[in-house]
Every structure is written in structure tokens, then in C-alpha cells.
């Protein structure tokens, strides 16, 4: 049994089981339209969970991703859209807006990382407080400029990320692939694992622990901004409220995939499996007419089991 649980593809195996379990009871579940629906619907979660994976590998946690989504969405929409968009109508509006959204994510990540790495503050406290700060800031900013929490009239070229599924898919796949290559094939990737395993030993070994930690949070911020691009385009609205129910799914998908909450262990591919599993589970239960409240309970229970399994593997299998 430990072979099965310890396998790299255990969660993919669970996905197969889930798929097989739902298929006979809800024929719509296996239709191409529904599978495409699951695929497109899970892209923001995939981006967020991929960014989170890098942070978890360093032994940290980023609770501010939903606030970054909201702030990036408002910043981007204020640049390119609405009746008072700063660059509304300009041909450079969309690229500048997207760059602003990514820069917003990177800056929030930089702030988080700097507080954690250089001021030695606990990650959960820093990212929890920045969640409050940046959530409030995004609402204030939207209301100050357009007197509403929603900013509309975004350029059609930007909305293509919501209306053309292949474009969203392409963006998410490229970003996830880059994250995978970064972790698996680069020195920075090895440093991330090293910092997560033991920051003190890493420092003695010449790893720039502070810089690596900051880099992980910047990476998470940028990926949250990418998710914000997708959500803002899908809903054709810039809003501080986008994705605000996603946080548990983000951490859950990474942990279910096998990324350790204690740091030093995880892969982007595992997170992809975790995202797939959560999405299949949510969709299947939804198609079976299970109420949203029960779906949330089931997801919470699954994530709890995954976290317990992580504790078990870390404390008892790997040893103290």
C-alpha cells in the first residue's frame, strides 16, 4: 500500500478512479463538452496552485493570492477599460494593462518575500495581513476612480483570453511548463528545494536563501496575476472580488498533489494532478446534483486527508 501512496502518479490514479466512478452515474460527465468545461474552468486554479507550489517547496505559504487577483484585476481594468480607463482607446492599452497586472503581482510578491526573508516574519502572518491590506486597497482604488467595485468596457483583444479558450489554455500551459522547467532543470529550482529542506544548511552551502525565498513569492504573485488575467477576461469585468473563494482549492490542489506543507518536496506535475483531481471531483458531484455546501464539505475533507497524509509521510516515513 505504501508503494501506491508513495507513487508519483498516485493522484493521477485517483483521478482515473474518480473519472471511472462518476462516469456510469452521470453520462454528461464524460462528454467532450464537459471535459473541455473542466479543462477551461480549472486554468485559473492551475496557475494559482503552480505559483503556490514553489512557495510551499521553500517551506512557506502564500495566503495573499486571492488579494493579488483582485488588485491586479482592478489595476489592469483601470489602465485599459471602463469609462475612465487611463489608456482607454489607445492601441497600447492592452499590453500596458497586462504588464501592469503582472507587475502588480510581482510587487506584492516582492513585498511578501522581503518581509518573510529579510525581516524574518512568519509567512502566514505576512501574507494574511497583506491579504487584508491589498483587498482593501483594491476596493478603495476601484471606488475612488470609478465609484464602483466593477470596471467594465475592457478592450475586445483582452477579452479574447476569456472568449477564446485556446488562448487561455495556451497561456496556462506555457506558464505551467516554464514553472516545471524552472523547478526541474535549473539551479534556482534546486535552491528552492534546498531552502525548503533546511534553510540553515543551504545558507552555509552558499545558497542565497533570502533571494530564493523572495523569488518564490514573486513567482507566486506573477502567477496569481496571470490567473487574474484569465478571470478578468472571462467575466469581462475588473473587480476586487474575483476568485475570492479559491484559496482553499489553491493550497488543497498543491497538497493533494503531494507537495509538502513542511517544504522541500513537490513538483509542478503533481500539482497539475491535484488540480485535475479537485476539478473532476467538484464537477462530478455538481453533475450528480449534490449541493454546493456538500461539495465544499467533501473538498474540505479530501484536503484534510491529503494534509494528514503529508504529516504522516513527513513525520513517520521520512523520520524526524
Amino acid at each position: 500500500m505504501s508503494n501506491l501512496v508513495g507513487s508519483d502518479l498516485f493522484v493521477l490514479f485517483l483521478c482515473g478512479i474518480t473519472f471511472a466512478a462518476f462516469a456510469p452515474f452521470t453520462p454528461i460527465f464524460v462528454t467532450p463538452a464537459n471535459l473541455a468545461n473542466i479543462l477551461i474552468g480549472c486554468l485559473p486554479l492551475l496557475l494559482l496552485a503552480t505559483g503556490q507550489t514553489l512557495v510551499l517547496i521553500t517551506g512557506g505559504i502564500d495566503l495573499s493570492v486571492t488579494a493579488i487577483i483582485g488588485l491586479s484585476s482592478v489595476v489592469g481594468a483601470l489602465v485599459m477599460g471602463g469609462d475612465q480607463g487611463w489608456l482607454q482607446g489607445s492601441p497600447i492599452a492592452m499590453p500596458v494593462a497586462m504588464a501592469s497586472m503582472l507587475a502588480t503581482g510581482a510587487l506584492v510578491g516582492l513585498f511578501n518575500g522581503a518581509c518573510i526573508a529579510w525581516l524574518r516574519m512568519p509567512a502566514f502572518m505576512v501574507t494574511l495581513t497583506t491579504t487584508m491590506f491589498f483587498s482593501g486597497l483594491s476596493v478603495w482604488l476601484a471606488k475612488k476612480v470609478v465609484n464602483s467595485e466593477s470596471i467594465y468596457n475592457l478592450p475586445p483583444a483582452f477579452l479574447a483570453f476569456g472568449t477564446h479558450a485556446w488562448l487561455a489554455l495556451l497561456m496556462a500551459v506555457i506558464a505551467t511548463l516554464l514553472a516545471h522547467l524552472l523547478l526541474a532543470r535549473t539551479l534556482l529550482g534546486r535552491w528552492l528545494y534546498a531552502v525548503g529542506h533546511n534553510p540553515r544548511t543551504s545558507l552555509i552551502s552558499g545558497v542565497p536563501v533570502g533571494g530564493v525565498t523572495v523569488g518564490a513569492y514573486v513567482f507566486s504573485g506573477v502567477f496569481a496575476a496571470l490567473a487574474s488575467i484569465l478571470l478578468t477576461a472571462q467575466l469581462e469585468t475588473g473587480s476586487p472580488n474575483h476568485g475570492k473563494t479559491l484559496l482553499l482549492d489553491v493550497i488543497g490542489a498543491a497538497v493533494i498533489g503531494g507537495t509538502s506543507l513542511f517544504g522541500g518536496k513537490g513538483k509542478v506535475l503533481w500539482t497539475v494532478y491535484g488540480v485535475l483531481f479537485l476539478s473532476l471531483l467538484g464537477n462530478g458531484l455538481n453533475l450528480l446534483n449534490v449541493s454546493d455546501f456538500l461539495i465544499t464539505i467533501v473538498k474540505g475533507a479530501v484536503i484534510l486527508v491529503a494534509a494528514l497524509l503529508d504529516v504522516w509521510r513527513t513525520k513517520f516515513v521520512r523520520g524526524p
Binding site: 462516469a23 453520462p27 454528461i28 464524460v30 467595485e149 469581462e236 455538481n286 453533475l287
Partner: protein, 351 residues
């Protein structure tokens, strides 16, 4: 227990791919069967609505629960399967739910959107699948996307309610300071109620001065904190209007602590009004604490929403907007009008 199985990545990938492909194939044939069965029953009863997807932004207040229960009961009575979705205030989650409904080829979708803007892509997605959409109680911003909104005339009902409150203020013989608890101003209902309040206050001339406009974003804790601050800054506030009845408990909490929670016939009473007509408001009116509330007809709106979908199945096109005229219920007409107040019906059932 050791199963002694080597779980190599290749084994798993291959197994998963085979299972997925096989089931996708089966699914296609099943789906085809389902489709053919649908079309055969469609030819037998072309005008029959079988399934409706209902996506609510929240079930946080009595109003939404009453509406949800009424839709459920009416669907059951008509032999319609109701698929449910509750988005917890997250528009992206609601979009996922609407996509699921579209995938399931429902006959119609009823949405209570987070706001008037984020719902537009959802309507467009349903339009593309030729599925009729009804926005329940919260209309969309101006759009070409085809839909019907069944919603209250927030402006008129609020103005009528606040005009009654102003008449009470005038009877006190002194200029009254007023407070309004605003809703989420991304919600056109909240805007309509604010505008109705402001119009009635403007008509009042010098009799009432608004000293506090509390943004609540439809959140009870924000309402509580806002009312506390406003009462600290202006202890002589004599008139309070809440854009939704579900915030009365927040007002009651603050006024009780200040010793100002008084019935309408007691000295020191603060004139109180609201909007919705929920069970709490009914109870507070029956006890004499609340002077008036604007009532929207939750049951009528639910009936209309389902009727629009049934009509669409019959090929009829409903108007973009169906107004719930509603009415103001006051201490003066409570006995006469309470049978038309949905909150009174809910309160009676609870008893």
C-alpha cells in the same frame, strides 16, 4: 499490507489514458442515447420544461432563502428538475456553475448575479447555447445579450417607504438627522434604493438632513461598525433607513446598547425603515420597533421567473424587464397589508 505492485509512471499514464479514452467513448454513446431520448420525448411534448438551473449569488439572507425555496417548490409542483448552484459571492464560481448548466442542456437558467456587470458573459454563454436566461431580482447593466430580468422597482418602493418615514419625522416638529445604510453599489438594486431614498429626502425639503451614508456592501458586520461610528459622531440621529431588512439586527444591537431601541409609541423612538419585507422586519413591525419597510413580492417574482422559461420553451419572447411593483408596508397599514408581505408568511410558518 503490501500489494507488491510496481507503480511505474508509464503504467499509470497508460492505464489512465486507456480508462479515460474508453470512458469518453462510452460517454459519447451514452450521451447520444441521452440526446436521442431527449429528442424523442421532445417530440412527444415539445413545450415541456424538464430542467432549470438556478444559480444564486448567496443564500445569506432570509430573502434569498425564501426565493430559493419558492423556486424549488414551484419547480417540484410543475415536475421540473431544479439544478442548484450557490456562488458565495464569487462571480467566477457562478460562471462555472452556469457553464455546468449549459453543458447539461437545461431548458432555462435563473441567475441571481453578484452584480449587473459580471453576469453579462454568463448571459452571452447561455445565448450561444440557445438557453433562455432570467435574472432574478437583480438586473444586468445595459447589454445586447438576450435575457429577462424580474426585479422590483427599487426606486419607487423605496421612495414610497421613505416618504412615509419623512412624514413621521415632520410630525416630531423638529429637523431630524438621518442615516442610510447603503448596499453594494455595484448592485443596481442598491443604487435604486439609494436613489429612492435621496429623492424622498429631497422632497422633504428642510425637514430631514442626511448626516451619515454607511457603505455596507451587504455585510452585517460592516453595517454594525458603520452604525456604531455614525451614532458616536451624531448621537441625535432620529431617522434610519436600511437598504435591506437583514441589517435590522445590526441596527438593533447598536441602538439597544445606547438605550435608544424604543417602540414607535415610546418617547425617544428613532424612526426606522427598511427594504425587503422579510420575517425579521415583520416581527419588528408587529412589536412596534420598525415604522415601515418596502416589500418586494418574492413569491410573485419566483413564479414569473419560471413562467418566462416555460414561455420561452413555447417560443414566446418575454420582455427584457418585468417589474415587481411592490408596496410600502407601514404601521398605518400593517393589519390590512400583512397578508401580502412574504416575511409575514415566513414568520407565521415558523410559528
Amino acid at each position: 499490507m503490501n500489494l507488491r505492485i510496481t507503480f511505474s509512471p508509464t503504467f499509470f499514464t497508460a492505464a489512465f489514458a486507456i480508462v479515460a479514452l474508453a470512458l469518453t467513448g462510452c460517454g459519447k454513446s451514452d450521451s447520444g442515447a441521452a440526446n436521442s431520448s431527449t429528442s424523442s420525448s421532445t417530440s412527444a411534448a415539445p413545450d415541456q420544461v424538464k430542467t432549470i438551473g438556478v444559480a444564486f449569488e448567496t443564500l445569506q439572507t432570509e430573502f434569498w432563502v425564501a426565493a430559493f425555496d419558492k423556486l424549488k417548490a414551484d419547480c417540484a409542483a410543475k415536475g421540473i428538475t431544479m439544478l442548484e448552484g450557490v456562488a458565495d459571492g464569487d462571480a467566477s464560481k457562478q460562471f462555472d456553475q452556469v457553464r455546468n448548466f449549459i453543458n447539461r442542456k437545461v431548458d432555462g437558467i435563473i441567475i441571481v448575479p453578484k452584480d449587473g456587470k459580471t453576469v453579462i458573459p454568463m448571459i452571452k454563454a447561455a445565448n450561444a447555447a440557445n438557453i433562455p436566461v432570467v435574472l432574478y431580482n437583480r438586473p444586468a447593466d445595459p447589454t445586447d445579450a438576450k435575457h429577462t430580468a424580474v426585479a422590483p422597482d427599487n426606486f419607487a418602493i423605496t421612495k414610497e417607504t421613505v416618504t412615509y418615514l419623512v412624514s413621521l419625522a415632520k410630525k416630531t416638529g423638529k429637523k431630524q438627522k438621518a442615516m442610510i445604510l447603503l448596499g453594494d453599489l455595484g448592485d443596481v438594486n442598491a443604487i435604486g434604493r439609494r436613489d429612492g431614498f435621496e429623492a424622498a429626502i429631497k422632497d422633504a425639503g428642510e425637514a430631514v438632513e442626511v448626516v451619515a451614508r454607511i457603505p455596507t456592501d451587504w455585510n452585517q458586520e460592516k453595517a454594525l461598525a458603520g452604525v456604531q461610528s455614525a451614532m458616536q459622531a451624531n448621537p441625535d440621529i432620529g431617522l434610519i433607513f436600511t437598504s435591506s431588512d437583514f441589517m435590522f439586527p445590526s441596527i438593533k444591537s447598536v441602538l439597544s446598547n445606547l438605550g435608544k431601541w424604543k417602540k414607535h409609541n415610546e418617547p425617544g423612538h428613532i424612526i426606522l425603515g427598511g427594504f425587503d419585507g422579510d420575517a425579521t422586519a415583520y416581527q419588528l413591525m408587529a412589536e412596534g420597533y420598525v415604522d415601515a419597510t418596502g416589500v418586494q413580492d418574492v413569491y410573485w417574482e419566483a413564479e414569473q421567473a419560471i413562467q418566462v422559461i416555460i414561455a420561452a420553451k413555447d417560443g414566446q419572447i418575454s420582455p427584457t424587464r418585468i417589474d415587481d411593483q411592490g408596496f410600502a408596508i407601514t404601521q398605518a397599514n400593517l393589519k390590512e397589508m400583512e397578508s401580502r408581505m412574504w416575511g409575514a408568511v415566513v414568520a407565521t410558518k415558523k410559528k
